[in-house]
């Protein structure tokens, strides 16, 4: 593993609101091709942490670097241009466009053509959009209006959009929220496959422990803003502190029969 370059490095990330520490001194690293899950009970600071990584929130202190380049406090659109793709808890796509156009916009942006007032978008990056859609299994839906898609398909479309800038790092905020159990497995398998094939690092937060323990290479556990455990699924599962927290929350993280919370 140590030969694989460090993709994301987070050092001493801290954020507080009115004296309350939402995130305190969080540090971790993520390597290319690795799938890392960020978990923790409600209010543990997952979202704050995640938002600081993708630029929607500015940390009080600490550093975030992607492939050695500083992204701390940069705007989401700048971080995206540094090779970070992302998906949202509630999928964010463009409902008034076709599926293909959704991906084309991202490709056009990646190609720095946004202020081109004259060309026809329809001809821009058409094939590449098709390839990305094929990759996520949405090729057959390319000409469908996005607003008519089932939610699972919207999620897959969002993944295709997120891949448009050939990202090195993919940030996924609760990728399976709101999906049926079978779709969750499919989406995560798809994500894992793409990550391995293209050597993309993936960081995701998740409520559904089934998803976490099945797909994560490594797990970070946050509680009250601090990192309390880090390691492989087995290590985390065996961690007494983690157990205590989740039991205290009344949630069994390894309860396989549990219906995932839809957040």
């Amino acid at each position: 593993m140590s030969m694989v370059p460090t993709l994301l490095s987070v050092e001493g990330l801290t954020k507080s609101y009115g004296g309350v520490h939402a995130v305190r001194g969080v540090s971790f690293e993520l390597r290319a091709g690795e799938i890392l899950a960020l978990i923790g009970p409600n209010g543990a600071g997952k979202s704050t942490c995640f938002d600081m990584l993708n630029g929607q929130n500015i940390p009080d202190s600490g550093r975030i670097r992607v492939l050695g380049a500083e992204t701390t406090g940069k705007k989401p659109r700048v971080i995206w241009r540094m090779g970070v793709g992302r998906t949202f808890q509630i999928a964010a796509t463009f409902p008034t466009m076709t599926v293909r156009e959704n991906v084309q916009v991202a490709l056009v942006s990646h190609g720095a053509q946004l202020f081109n007032l004259w060309a026809s978008t329809a001809r821009q990056a058409r094939d590449e959009a098709g390839r990305l859609l094929d990759l996520v299994g949405m090729g057959a839906y390319a000409e469908r209006p996005c607003g008519e898609l089932a939610y699972g398909d919207v999620k897959r479309l969002e993944l295709a959009i997120a891949l448009a800038n050939q990202p090195k790092l993919l940030l996924m905020d609760e990728p399976t929220a709101g999906m049926a159990p079978r779709e969750r497995v499919e989406l995560m398998r798809l994500t894992a496959r793409i990550a391995r094939e293209q050597s993309i690092g993936v960081l995701f937060t998740e409520h559904d422990m089934d998803v976490v323990f099945e797909h994560a290479d490594r797990i970070l556990v946050l509680n009250r803003g601090t990192l309390i455990a880090e390691g492989s699924p087995e290590e985390v599962r065996g961690n007494a502190q983690v157990r205590a927290i989740y039991l205290g929350e009344g949630l069994l993280y390894d309860a396989r029969h549990r219906e995932g919370a839809s957040a």
């Binding site: 463009f94 156009e101 978008t121 800038n165």
Partner: protein
């Protein structure tokens, strides 16, 4: 010193009425998300009805009873309007309610003249409050003191109503999250109706209380509505405390502004509103709004460029339109030119509204800037017409670049209000800066040169530029930039996450729209041979909005049709009847209720349905089912 105290108290008295009307508007907006343009009309109706009642019934009881009954009567009219009209259009695209209430306002303006006659009416003085009280040698009207006391009392009553009653709690909940209230199983219909009734009651009460100090007339509504919008926006939409503080602020600005800047007191409040919106986009007491609700009617049929056949048809129709000079006389051609110019103006706003999702309430500013650009270049620099037509719109571009930069930092109603404020500022400059703009008397003698002077030539020029503008804007819609703009409109979150700088994209769109509007204004100056401040007035901005909504805000080029229908109808009605506002208002209301998608939107939906049903009719499954049924 006593003078300043009295001046302050006088400001407070004006604030009371303003607060009543503004709080009503704010409450209605908070719960129903309707920007009630007719609020001024209800205010005016309150004054008219109160005039009649207090005139009819004598004595103190007759006066105060008349005031309250007038407000109740108008509130009942409000309920009727809500149930008959607004209930049908709550789910129409955003701003459609504004269009409907605008139509209503037009109708009321003509109706009050029909009912109460054209004269200014002077109502009774309030019994017991006729004189003035001496304050260190300064006189304070006792009625002012009454109003000063009334403001906080009404504020208190509203506060109790919202804090201490179940109804109030529901209203507050609805203001914060409408879906939640629906989920609670509350009868939303009646909640909306009652809120609307309360809002209208307050407006009418505000109007009725004016009769001892004002002259009741048919222009009261517009006078108050703009000021009320300003108050509500400064205070923060949905905030009653905000409305109160802003009403005091605006009234004191008026009271003291005339001492310091007697000549620019009209723009003072707009300057303050612009500053407040730039510094605190949600008003002094407003809360940042959750991202605007997804417009329920938002089309799911993605836009597409015209097919080859459609293109040929469009060209054919353009050729037919270009043949008009061979069959029509000069008047028709001049009207044709005017319509073509308004097509340009409307499509420029349509571009901003429907592609960019930015509904500007002050788009006429850029139209007017283009017109003034031409007039100044032609009259002062003596440039030839072609040069003026090319350079004049640059003034629109410049204005749009400066104002647009600030405006696109906001969205939704706040964007609309900031653009309105900017337009008012520009209008005031044209109105006040007499040495350059000629003030109200405008700039005259901006007539086209010989080659374009004949009505047919000017018509071809206007038609050609209109066609060009429509084509160019369509090309931009389908360009990468157009997609980026739509992406920003559809999902600011996602577009930011794919590297799109939404503000810059929107700013660019604003500048494009402003420049095209400036081009329309430039042509307009030559068509009319003159420019006037009302080339950038509120009513022109509203006209453009109506054209866009009429055509269909969810379409690519619906504004073309909206502009033609509205302008042709307007010119025709104004020429045929003195009650043009009544008829036009009625037409607008009818269109809103019958065709909430606009004319083109409705046609498109119809075609889409037909295409769908015809394709499913030919599907083998359906055919076999029909066969088996036989």
């Amino acid at each position: 010193m006593a003078f300043y105290v009295v001046q302050f108290l006088t400001g407070l008295a004006s604030a009371a009425s303003l607060f009543l009307v503004a709080s009503g508007l704010s409450i209605i907006f908070g719960v129903t998300r309707i920007v009630n343009f007719a609020h001024g009309a209800f205010y005016m109706l309150g004054a008219y009805v109160a005039f009649t009642l207090t005139d009819r019934f004598s004595g103190a009881f007759g006066f105060w009873g008349g005031i309250v009954i007038a407000a109740l009567v108008v509130a009942a009219i409000g309920v009727l309007v809500e149930m008959v009209l607004l209930r049908r259009i709550y789910h129409s695209p955003e701003l459609f309610q504004l269009l409907a209430t605008f139509g209503l306002t037009l109708m009321v303006e003509d109706l009050v003249v029909l009912i109460w006659g054209p004269d200014d009416l002077v109502g009774r003085r309030a019994p017991g409050f006729k004189g003035a009280i001496d304050f260190f040698g300064q006189n304070i009207p006792s009625y002012d003191l009454f109003l000063i006391a009334l403001g906080p009392v009404v504020l208190g009553v509203l506060w109790l109503l919202f804090q201490r009653t179940r109804w109030g709690v529901l209203v507050r909940a609805a203001t914060q999250d409408r879906d939640m209230v629906a989920a609670l199983g509350v009868n939303q219909k009646w909640l909306f109706t009652s809120v609307f009734a309360l809002g209208v009651f307050l407006a009418a009460l505000g109007g009725a209380l004016q009769i001892p100090r004002d002259a009741v007339n048919h222009a009261m509504d517009l006078r108050v509505i703009v000021e009320v919008f300003v108050v509500v926006v400064i205070g923060g939409l949905g905030s009653i405390i905000g409305a109160f503080v802003a009403a005091v602020l605006v009234s004191e600005l008026n009271a003291f502004g005339i001492l310091i800047f007697p000549k620019i007191s009209i723009i003072l409040v707009f300057l303050v509103m612009a500053v407040v919106l730039i510094v605190r986009p949600w008003g002094l007491f407003g809360k940042p709004e959750a991202p605007a609700r997804r417009t329920p009617g938002l089309t799911v049929n993605p836009w597409r460029p015209l097919t080859t056949n459609e293109r040929l048809a469009a060209i054919a129709v353009l050729v037919v339109a270009a043949a008009l000079p061979f069959v029509a006389g000069n008047y028709v051609l001049t009207v044709g030119s005017e319509i073509a110019i308004f097509v340009i103006f409307a499509v420029s706003l349509h571009f901003l509204m429907s592609v960019g999702g930015l509904a500007s309430f002050g788009h006429a500013a850029y139209f007017g800037l283009g017109a003034y650009g031409v007039a100044l270049l032609a009259k002062m620099a003596g440039l030839p017409m072609i040069a003026c037509l090319l350079l004049g719109p640059l003034l629109g571009l410049l204005g749009a670049a400066v104002f647009g930069f600030f405006a696109v930092q906001l969205s939704g109603v706040y964007f609309a209000m900031l653009t309105l404020a900017f337009a008012q500022i520009v209008w005031s400059i044209a109105f006040q800066w007499v040495s350059v703009t000629g003030g109200d008397n405008g700039i005259l003698g901006v007539w086209p040169e010989k080659w374009a002077a004949s009505p047919s030539h000017f018509y071809w020029l206007s038609l050609g530029i209109a066609a060009l503008a429509v084509v160019v804007l369509r090309i931009i819609v389908f360009s990468p930039f157009g997609f980026a703009l739509r992406a920003t409109r559809d999902s600011p979150l996602r577009s930011e996450a794919i590297g799109i700088n939404g503000k810059r994209i929107q700013w660019t769109a604003f500048v494009i729209a402003g420049t095209v509007a400036g081009l329309a204004g430039a042509l307009f100056a030559y068509l009319k041979g003159s420019v006037f401040p009302d080339n950038m007035g509120i009513s022109l901005s509203v006209d453009a909005l109506v054209m866009v909504l009429l055509g269909g805000v969810e379409t690519v080029s619906g504004a073309v049709v909206g502009a033609i229908v509205y302008k042709a109808l307007n010119i025709w009605l104004v020429s045929q009847t003195d009650l043009s506002k009544l008829v036009l208002g009625g037409f607008v209301v009818l269109i809103v209720v019958a065709f909430p998608k606009g004319i083109v939107g409705t046609l498109e939906a119809f075609m889409h349905r037909r295409r769908k049903s015809s394709s499913s009719a030919s599907s083998p499954l359906l055919t076999s089912r029909i066969e088996s049924a036989e």
